[in-house]
């Protein structure tokens, strides 16, 4: 029958065939249906049948090339045909068989055949893994599947549904059998052989797994499962330790990519296991896990004499490190605005407890290096947290191990006071850590001081440690920590009302416009250049979890407020003098102010910036009340502790700076100012006004003198003549001229020396000398700078270092 002929009544027949479906009537209807739904599915099925036949035939004559060609992949959008499963299963059996045979009589097979056989072996393995369930099912009950096959033949229309159903059914069955397996310690291996895990063959299995680890075809999940089973049967502590030492890294290794984070459940499991490991070690003190053990461990139970310790190769500290890293990684990847994040964050207490426990363990066994690493971890969990949080965490931890051995570094009495605790941890690291850990500990310590408004302590520590001199040489993570510390010190100064110090601390970081990047609190969008993907990945990995973030808006707000309080009087002092106007304290502030001033119409302030810009304009115009209002209206201040106090401080500062601005702006129009009047104008006490004016006179900002009798400021109007101006300029120029000259000379001498040295002995030792000289010169230079504007330059060094690094990288 041609298709054209059948075209018209097609629908009728289709309907009919549907009714006929259950009757299993005749071949005709069957064929009808086949032809009617001559879709891709059918075609494929036909093709499949054909290829199955070829494979069968080829099998008989041991023709592997044909088998390989015949093994087409019949997968479409529909399910897996029984016949296919059957074929691959039997094919696998045959394959194994012939592999056996081949071993016995290798010479019989020619090269192409052997090649085909090998590739077939790999291919079939892959396919079997894909259809593991189905194949397993088929193996268990070939007859049933055979039946289904017949059914399939009978009712191809229902094929899809049935396979789906059956596969689900099968899956359930499979789970059931697996469950049974676990109960009876019996598992069916590939070759239908039951695998038993007992305490006796544990070491052997363990060894097998260890050998398979890291290989390409190993199923990592499978390994973990086996190890878990092994852990179940492990009888002695030694066995348990050995299994755990294999199981924990296996779980860490499960996730091969660096960007993904570990599954939370698995993480929890691992944590439990580490805890278990620690418990075992605590109860069995004769086992010690060290990184270096001389004798190779045999696969048998060691004989331990009493009083002796037995070393096992392994590193708990790396487990704890990894656990912590995975925790941070998961926090980086979870959206911080979801409850997931909060839930995850709750695990920190547990993690912290594990860290503390590890610390106690290392201390007891005098593993100093591990101790300092763990102490660092502990410190990094603590330094940014407020007191209450630390206390709660510490209390929980103490409750978790109430009767356990207490730490000598951090006895439980001192854990009540966060500052004492952090001090103890830091001091331990100063004494025992390597230089990197010492640096980090120092930074954490400073951060903590700054957090507690101890500005001078923090500053002194920062300067005395000379951290900034070479922070740019350290790794990026430490630099980020340094930046965070700097910002925190700046905020601390702000809270304490030290505007100038605060501004100079924040300047380097906030002035760059790359705050996010410098604090690792989000990726900066590059405007003109695209970062290379690896670079972006690295940056992403460095990001801090959300709960550690410093509020950027608050930071900006503090910075801009400081800038306003310093810049507005400075601008007023500069007046119309173009040279003086060029001296900018805060570039971003100036830019914003310029932008704001160019606006034709500026509406009421909406965000923080608008508020500050409005306040700045008001301050410049002498309207200090308005300025106070605008600054006070900023909502973000609420995030600072003791908001009211800070606002009061700011109000006082605004009054003072307002007075200064006024004096700068209008001093040229008056011959005298009444102190009383100034005091009422800015509602400042007379003493304050007098002190401010005196300070300005002393700093030569105001050419005036105080008349104590009449209580007025007498202004002496002086303006430098052209000649004086020029002379001043020339003095400045000459100074830089001389400096440049000296530098050139220095360079010259260096290179001259270099050449001479080369001629003399062509060695490398001289280069060292040279570099030493160079560094001493730089140091001297640095000191000079520091002498000139004491706190300013030093603080920013590292940032500059970081930007430079960035530049090199990109």
């Amino acid at each position: 029958m041609s298709r054209f002929f059948r075209a018209k009544p097609a629908s009728g027949i289709a309907a009919k065939s549907r009714f006929l479906k259950d009757v299993s009537d005749s071949e005709e209807s069957d064929s009808d249906e086949k032809r009617e739904v001559k879709s891709a599915k059918d075609k494929k099925l036909d093709a499949l049948e054909l290829s199955v036949k070829t494979i069968e035939n080829a099998k008989k004559i041991n023709e592997w090339v044909a088998i390989q060609n015949g093994n087409a992949k019949p997968l479409g959008t529909f399910g897996i045909p029984r016949i296919y499963i059957k074929t691959i299963a039997s094919l696998e059996d045959f394959l194994n068989e012939s592999l056996q045979k081949e071993k016995e009589a290798k010479k019989k097979m020619n090269a192409t055949q052997a090649k085909a056989l090998n590739s077939m072996k790999n291919k079939i393995k892959k396919i079997i893994r894909q259809f593991e369930d189905e194949v397993g099912k088929w193996r268990q009950n070939p007859i049933l599947t055979e039946d289904e096959e017949i059914e399939d033949d009978e009712d191809l229309g229902e094929f899809v549904k049935s396979t789906k159903k059956s596969s689900i059914k099968k899956n359930n069955e499979l789970y059931a059998t697996e469950f049974n397996d676990e109960e009876g310690f019996e598992q069916v291996g590939k070759g239908n052989k039951p695998i038993e895990y007992t305490s006796e063959n544990l070491f052997k299995k363990l060894r097998e797994i260890m050998e398979a680890r890291g290989k390409k075809n190993t199923d990592r999940l499978e390994q973990i499962k086996i190890l878990q089973k092994l852990l179940g049967v492990a009888a002695t502590p030694y066995q348990k330790i050995r299994v755990l030492l294999a199981l924990i890294p296996a779980q860490f290794d499960y996730n091969p990519s660096m960007s993904n984070y570990m599954n939370v459940d698995m993480w929890k499991n691992t944590q439990e296991e580490i805890k278990q490991l620690l418990t075992i070690l605590e109860t069995n003190p004769h086992f010690i896990i060290r990184e270096y053990v001389e004798e190779e461990v045999e696969d048998k139970e060691p004989v331990i004499e009493s009083g002796q310790t037995f070393g096992i190769r392994g590193s708990i500290v790396s487990f704890i490190d990894r656990l912590d890293d995975e925790f941070i990684k998961s926090l980086q990847n979870i959206d911080p605005h979801t409850t997931d994040y909060v839930d995850r964050l709750k695990d920190e207490t547990e993690l912290y407890a594990t860290i503390v426990r590890g610390q106690i363990h290392f201390e007891k066994n005098e593993l100093n290096e591990s101790t300092s690493r763990v102490v660092m971890r502990r410190l990094e969990h603590l330094y940014y947290k407020p007191d209450q949080v630390i206390q709660t965490v510490e209390n929980t931890v103490n409750l978790l191990y109430p009767s356990g051995v207490s730490s000598s570094i951090t006895p439980s009495e001192i854990t009540q006071d966060s500052s004492v605790l952090i001090r103890a941890l830091c001091v331990y690291l100063y004494k025992n850590g390597e230089s990197l850990l010492r640096t980090r500990a120092m930074l954490c310590h400073i951060y903590h001081h700054a957090l507690h408004n101890r500005f001078y302590t923090a500053r002194d520590m920062l300067l005395m440690s000379h951290l900034q001199d070479n922070i740019q040489l350290s790794d990026v993570g430490t630099q980020i920590l340094h930046n965070r510390t700097m910002v925190q010190v700046g905020l601390c100064a702000f809270r304490e009302g030290m505007i100038k110090e605060s501004q100079s601390c924040l300047q380097e970081i906030c002035g760059t416009g790359r705050v996010k990047e410098l604090l690792a609190q989000g990726l900066q969008i590059q405007k003109y250049s695209q970062l290379p993907p690896e670079q972006e990945k690295l940056d992403r990995q460095r990001q801090l979890p959300f709960h550690m973030h410093i509020n950027l808006e608050l930071l900006e707000c503090a910075y801009l407020t400081c800038s306003m309080l310093l810049e507005i009087p400075a601008m007023a002092a500069a007046g119309s003098n173009p040279e003086a106007r060029k001296k900018v304290i805060s570039k971003p502030f100036r830019r914003m102010l310029d932008y704001n001033e160019r606006q034709v119409f500026s509406g009421p302030p909406e965000n923080t910036r608008d508020h500050i810009m409005g306040a700045a304009k008001a301050l410049a115009a002498g309207e200090w009340q308005k300025c106070q209002e605008l600054i006070g209206a900023i909502k973000i201040w609420d995030l600072m502790p003791e908001t009211q106090k800070i606002k009061e401080m700011l109000n006082r500062k605004i009054q003072e700076e307002g007075l200064r601005t006024y004096l700068f702006t209008y001093s040229s129009y008056y011959t005298t100012f009444g102190l009383e009047q100034l005091s009422t104008m800015f509602s400042l006490p007379l003493n304050t006004v007098t002190s401010i004016v005196s300070k300005m006179i002393w700093n030569e900002e105001l050419a005036a003198s105080l008349d104590q009798i009449n209580n007025v400021v007498v202004l002496h109007r002086v303006e430098p003549t052209k000649v004086q101006q020029l002379s001043l300029m020339f003095a400045e120029k000459a100074f830089s001229f001389v400096e440049a000259n000296e530098r050139t000379l220095e360079q010259k001498q260096l290179s001259g020396q270099n050449q001479r040295d080369q001629q003399r002995q062509k060695g490398q030792s001289n280069q060292q000398q040279n570099t030493e000289k160079r560094t001493t010169y730089q140091k001297r230079d640095g000191q000079q700078q520091r002498g000139r504007n004491n706190f300013n330059n030093v603080l920013g060094n590292s940032v500059r270092g970081r930007t430079q690094q960035n530049r090199y990288r990109s």
């Binding site: 003549t721 000649v723 020029l726 020339f730 000459a734 050139t744 360079q747 010259k748 290179s751």
Partner: protein
Amino acid sequence: MSASGTPTTPKETLSNVNVTAALDVEGNFPLESVQIDGLVVLKIIKHCREFFPSPVTGQLLGLDVNGVLEVTNCFPFPGAKAEDENELVDGARYQVDMMRCLREVNVDNNTVGWYQSTYLGSFVTHKLIETQYNYQQTFNNKSVVIVHDVSRSTHSNLSLRAFRFSQAFMEAQKEDKFTTESLIKNKLTFSNIFEELPITVKNSHLVTALLHSLDDYEHVIPKSASLDKEKVVSPLSPNFDTLELSLDPYIEKNLEFLLESVEEHTQEQNTYAFWQRSVAREQTKIQVALQKRKQENVSRLASGLEPLPEDDIHKNHKLPAEPSRLDSLLITSQINNYCKQLNQYSGPTLGKLFISGELQK
């Protein structure tokens, strides 16, 4: 400073010169001083003042006699605005024509140098260097440039200075190489680019007589009742002009120029520093390459191979060429000039200020 000598009566110091003058036909004596006729001085001053403040140049004519360069005549070059090629050619032709004419009327027409006007001593330029080099080469070092500073002359005494290049500078300029090395070789610093020659002004006896008679004012002009004796001041008698106190503009200008040159010098320094850095970079590269080659050689020796030569590394790595130091040399010299001027000016001025201060008490 003998250069800023006032037009005084000629000294009869060189009476015996004429005797040996005839002997010095070959011109073996190096120049030691310059002797200018009063006429030439006046002509130069006139020319320079007319075109002030744009700089002008002119030709000096005369003869060198026994180490003394006698300048007896001069003529100005046409306008300094000659930028075009054509006008430059015109300038050359004008010079030749002028010389021919002078020869025809039998006036001294032997070129001995040139003169230039300047503003506050800012004459050390490339143009001057080039021209003077040409002159000095053509006339076997017996050529000078006379620099007349108009503004200084109005402020204080007449400023007329004669310069020529030192031998060291001539050498360096000949090689056209101003690297540090050649500077060291020629022992050249900013202070010995030029050699300044003392200038004496010579007047003929007739002129001297006139001057004397002018000085004796009362004899020349008959006494009359209408002339107030008090007000008539002899032109050459001491006056109070030199005691003028308006010093600001002069110092201002000077400082401005000084600032400018310092800035220029800073630029030069930057170029130099840049060069230094790049040299240092290259050198470390060479070092690294050498080190590598050495290691390679060690391993090659160990495996019994011939060591590779180390010379080609030096060939492969070219050190960047040193920037010419001429500019910085000139600028430094210029700065030196300004500083000297300021010093010279401020010394007497301070004296004046003290005087006036005392007077006002």
